[in-house]
Assembly symmetry: C2
Homo-oligomer: 481 residues x 2
Amino acid sequence: MPELPLVDAIIQYTKENNAPFSMPGHKSGRGFLETTEGKNLYDNFIKGDITEVEGLDNLHHPEGVIAEAQKLLSEFYGSKKSYFLVNGSSSGNLAMIFSSFNEGDKVIIERNCHRSVLNGVILRKLRPVYVKNKFNNIYNAPISVNKEHFLQVVNENKDAKGIIVTYPNYYGVCVNLKFIIKEAEKYNMKVLVDSAHGAHFGVCEGLPESAVRLGAHMVVMSAHKTLPSLTQTAYLHVSDKADIDRVDFYVSSLLSTSPSYMLMASMDYARFYLDKYGKETFESLLSTANNYRKKINDIGFFHVISKKELIENNLSGLSNDIYDLDESRYIINIPKGYSGEKLLMYLRDEGIQAEMSDESNVVLIFSPFNHEEDFEKLYQVLCKCNIEKIKNEIGSSEIIICDLPNIKLLPYEVLLKEKKSVKFEMSEGLICAEAVVPYPPGIPIIMPGEVYSDEVIKAIKYYDKNKSVVLGVKNGCVKFV
Amino acid sequence: MPELPLVDAIIQYTKENNAPFSMPGHKSGRGFLETTEGKNLYDNFIKGDITEVEGLDNLHHPEGVIAEAQKLLSEFYGSKKSYFLVNGSSSGNLAMIFSSFNEGDKVIIERNCHRSVLNGVILRKLRPVYVKNKFNNIYNAPISVNKEHFLQVVNENKDAKGIIVTYPNYYGVCVNLKFIIKEAEKYNMKVLVDSAHGAHFGVCEGLPESAVRLGAHMVVMSAHKTLPSLTQTAYLHVSDKADIDRVDFYVSSLLSTSPSYMLMASMDYARFYLDKYGKETFESLLSTANNYRKKINDIGFFHVISKKELIENNLSGLSNDIYDLDESRYIINIPKGYSGEKLLMYLRDEGIQAEMSDESNVVLIFSPFNHEEDFEKLYQVLCKCNIEKIKNEIGSSEIIICDLPNIKLLPYEVLLKEKKSVKFEMSEGLICAEAVVPYPPGIPIIMPGEVYSDEVIKAIKYYDKNKSVVLGVKNGCVKFV
């Protein structure tokens, strides 16, 4: 074993000098180096990694420069109050859930939610009711929520205290948040939005509207995913409907009392960048992305999905359900029989870092620090791709979308019971003790308290075979109670 | 308001070029720059701020380089399993509490515990029984736990499920952890140790023994406080008595699913540094600190407390209670009538950053990256100090140590009730709704559910007057239910 396994691997990775089409949004530091203000910060990051000394305020009791920076953040996004989160959107999701709901509350949750939301459901002892996500058979990917199904769930659960929505999802697809908020308000339900991938929304015309501006009760955004901010940074925005004292308590409880000034400074900078340069640079990015989408689509094998065809062309009769698409990322779709995973590996071998893949798609996330050279490199590499090499050897298979499993126990009730392991093929009829979540895209196949079914087992087998990281599966075994 | 309030303040601070006697342990980057391996990491920190790409493993499902790095960490400290925490010791304290105790459990807690432990008590709905801390009248500081008092609390609460101890405290004073563990084992109580300030313990002979080696059930250590690691990094060590599945779940729930590779890499490096260089460099540090302690004490006004006088000389009959003192930090004690806070400000004006102050002391934290130049600068600055300037103008006052307030409600019961505000002078008899914690040193005066007394009010007044940051007090008001 090397003496510094993680350090060595990271340094090795940086030497690859890949075109950065993955998170974080600063793209190997460019986001700092390309402005005077950012360069100044970049040069002082480590030296400025300091503790709460006089003049630098205290995140858990802000009265000075941190209070000012959070005020500017709040003004920019149009919230009642905004918070710097040094523990990512995960901590924001937990803080939203803990401060908005009480134990035993029924909450409507999009099944396609982040793992941290599901952890929140367990820790806060909520009674989840799930809204299924719709699956697009043409693109072989989960895309949005069916309006009729959503309305049905709401109507059957008018006693729910709130709705938790992902906006946008990992693919950049946005549900009709305005519509959801309008429905929720009829029954006095709160709408909490995991907008981890939407911190840049609303900064220019071509992008979807920001979840805060659409009137959500509380919104979490990752700063690092699409903005020039360090990994693990996020913003929490609350509206005037929230109980600020409760939010203060839970946010503070879930964040280190030794918060990193590097992380906090990068969040201050990211807001500044968006405010000062964002409109122009994101417009320019969208224009470049648009040009290269056409060029890539002209190659004839790869297909980058556009907002127009997904929404305006009313593909699969989905126009009612999809609200918008973030075109500052690419979903590169490939024909059935080919492997998204292999395409991602091919790109990496050719010096291009994509964000993630599923069987039929590779997702690339851009920021204004991806310039034309990056896109041109991507285009050239796709042009010369030997498609024989990215064939799906194990045979193409339809992605397995299982129905929501039956619920036997609430998620938190499972936590105290003794857990056992079983080969997942043998789990039918048993009660799940640990969520099974393929990563990416991070949508749970089964949650604690739900019952393993034949369908669930098939879905686990699908992801296991496709070599995704599948949380909750270890040596082919899953946990049950 | 400036456009970048936090960034500007940090950059301004770095320009002061203070001798770094505060956290973090890398001391303005020196801890990386002074070794070949660290320099290599330093040069790649921002470029290496990347997401979970192929080859870099996944903190929430470690099977590659992160698993290897955590294994080396575990081997070095002698634990059953060790974890990288990217959300500080705060997240480790919560994870220890959640995985070790169930709701309603009675737990014995040193009152001098960190705020995150108290948050854990609330969130986990524990029934806390507090052990008072002993106060040293000569040094005007809280120092340890009285053995008889401790035994009495244990004997009266044999049904407690565990004991939570701070080892060492902010001043470097160590309770007799070996004794506490032996007592706890008699009643099958778990011992959880907040060793945030003790990550370097045991690396050379002059330092106290590591809490892990002493047999604690679970131990949290801040990597950033005394080791060359970035702020907000911590280690969690668990023994073979812990339920690893539960620990895995809670650790994962409390950490960002986008953990910073910068933070993780610095934790890998800090363990490596300690293993490869720690014995020699900490020995050298202790020797330098020892020499300068004598020189500073010879000045005649300042008094740096030594292990010998605190323990061996049996000051105040405390020999039974104190186990050890970490001499890799200074408690600079000054005579009554002078202000620790003013001394800290004087040092800062002269280019020396201390860690914290109370009325009678200034605490400085060292690491092997504080070389003789730093100590010499400190010595010179103390030599030329005009002691008239650090007189306590508001008149010296005995620090107010109030007895533990009466408990009317359990901490978590308070959380759901409506809170009101009142001037703290008017709070007598009311039930506290929000902990009042002077920072530093972070010891709560009153906890939610406890009753404001005349003594409590005097203690709040004391800290308010002495200009500490007092969490829970806003515009002279405290919260009650």
